[in-house]
Amino acid sequence: MASEQNIKNKAHAALTKKAALGADIDLTAFADNATEKNYVSDPAKFSSEQKKQLESIGVEVAGGERAGTYMQLDHSIVHCSASNKGLEILSTDDALKKYDGLPSYWWQAVEPDADKYTARAALHQEHGYFIHAFEGAKIDYPVQACLYIGQEDIVQDVHNIIIVEEGAELHVITGCATDPQVKKGMHIGISEFYVKKGGKLTFTMIHRWGEEVAVRPRTGVIVEENGLYISNYICMQPAKNLQMYPTTKLVGPGAVSRINSILVAPTGSHMDVGGRAILDAPGTKAEIVARTISTGGIVINRGHLLGQSPETKAHLECHGLLLSDEGVIHAVPELEARTSNAELSHEAAVGKIAPEEIEYLMARGLNEEDAIATIVRGFLNVNIEGLPDALKREIDSVIQEFSLNRQ
């Protein structure tokens, strides 16, 4: 059990430690202090521009069909409420006070000295959400969380904890965005998720950053016996410098994880995104599915399956579509078996849309633009469970933009 001092010591020692992957971000280039923002009792009071931005990352501003809402603007909590009795939503600072430092959860799935970003978060962290589904609670509607950068040039460093207790079911939709006016900034997000025996967590994260924003999420997930963790990650807008490699550890027999990502990299984007599943108990299963599109940006799509317990089964699938000659898609699938009866497989394909596919649809009466849009839509169709309607519309509009911009 890591004591608070121990965490701080580790973090101090790692303050200049470069991350294993991704460009090294100069943290001194950003401002440290953000102005304090007022609490907004009713999120409907946001400006119409902000509301539009929030909706595009899956936030239901009116709060309809949501079991709770957490909203953080820069370093301030602007809204935090739960409307379901099986559920608790706090800022992590409040949760640390309430639960005596959360010793079983605080920095237990992510190491504070993993790199300079985790170290910084351990020393400078400003809030983040704590979402707790109580034992056996089936939370009917998703909880929405929003981490928003509204001030130019700041670092937002948050630490989030989700706990799904035994037999509970929870869907969390997290939208991360910058204000339309904000161009430059940095987001560091530590996320530690714990799915207990027989629990189910669906975690959908949508990123929509300003063009000059650097993003370093650091996520660790621990899934116990017969628990299920489903992660959907969507980033379809430019991100100058995004690097993340969330790790899911299946520690209980029969635990299952499914990790889906949809990445669209326009010109100027650099996305280094992966997913790692560690199958650490008998009978665990994992699936990682990535669909990446480059319209001119660079995507590095990593995946790592580590089978180290008997009767484990996992599959990794990365498919990339290059819609521009300027773009790069680099798929790096890794399979690592440390026991003879781990069944690991992967399927990777990167390339342009085959002209035969376009002509096949044209022979059924679609023009070339519509044929391409149809193929792209099909390509991105990975059956994401519980995707909000606003986000589905957003995906459609991005696909529409491709077809219009493609000359």
Binding site: E357, E359, A363, N367, T374, R377
Partner: protein, 250 residues
């Protein structure tokens, strides 16, 4: 309906078809025999306008209009429909969505799928993991929704098991509006009323047991070597082989 005038076609700069002339009138079904690799599939791909197939000479007319330079979708919208031998897989696009794309009007996808035993495939990705016969049925289902005026089928019987070959024939006849003489309609009227035309490639001829064809052609080394009655030509080919059959007719 379709008229080819001295059509020559090359693939990757390699000439495949030479001076092909063909006239298919409204309501006629023509069948195209010929050994493998002789240019039969090239012919229908060129008529459809697929980019790999370069017209190096001659013209293609459809319903009186010169379509030699028209795009694939323009030809499809004018009323040409095709079943190629190996269509690509479209991941994430279901057969149901594909049939809806094909349907010019509101089509009842389930009703059409029922006719060709494809209901259980409707929610699957187009051609994803389909067997040869399933691909044929899926293509026919799309054509049933598309309702083209000229239907081109490339070896509709290949890969189809005996159980399903009659179903394939029945569905092709449905698309061609054949075998549906109404009560009281005279044979003459039935023949003059039907307007759908077909061009069917076969090298086994099995499908002719199910689809009555009006005229047959033999394609040999990139040219239409001879034309005549489908059954007579088929029995000639079966008895003597293509080479002799073509020589005899020439």
């Amino acid at each position: 309906m379709l008229k080819l005038e001295n059509l020559s076609v090359a693939v990757n700069d390699r000439p495949i078809l030479h001076d092909v002339n063909l006239h298919i009138k409204p309501g006629e079904v023509h069948v195209l025999f010929g050994p493998n690799g002789t240019g039969k599939s090239t012919l229908i791909s060129a008529i459809m306008g697929f980019a790999r197939y370069t017209v190096t000479g001659g013209k293609i007319y459809f319903k009186g209009q010169d379509i030699t330079k028209s795009s694939v979708d323009e030809r499809a919208r004018l009323g040409i429909g095709v079943m190629i031998q190996r269509p690509p897989t479209l991941r994430g696009l279901t057969v149901r969505e594909m049939v809806q794309i094909c349907g010019k009007k509101q089509v009842d996808v389930d009703e059409l799928a029922d006719k060709i035993n494809m209901v259980e495939f409707l929610e699957r990705g187009v051609n994803e993991g389909f067997s040869g016969g399933e691909i044929k049925r899926s293509e026919l289902l799309q054509l049933m929704a598309q309702q083209p005026d000229l239907v081109m089928l490339d070896e509709p019987e290949s890969g189809v098991d005996i159980e399903n070959i009659a179903l394939v024939g029945k569905s092709a006849n449905y698309i061609l509006e054949r075998g549906m003489r109404k009560n009281g309609q005279t044979v003459k009227k039935y023949r003059t009323d039907r307007k759908k035309s077909g061009l069917i490639i076969t090298h086994t001829g099995h499908i002719l047991q199910y689809i009555p064809a009006d005229t047959a052609h033999v394609m040999y080394q990139g040219t239409l070597a001879c034309s005549g009655n489908p059954q007579e030509m088929l029995s000639c080919i079966q008895k003597k082989g293509y080479e002799e059959c073509v020589n005899c007719a020439l």
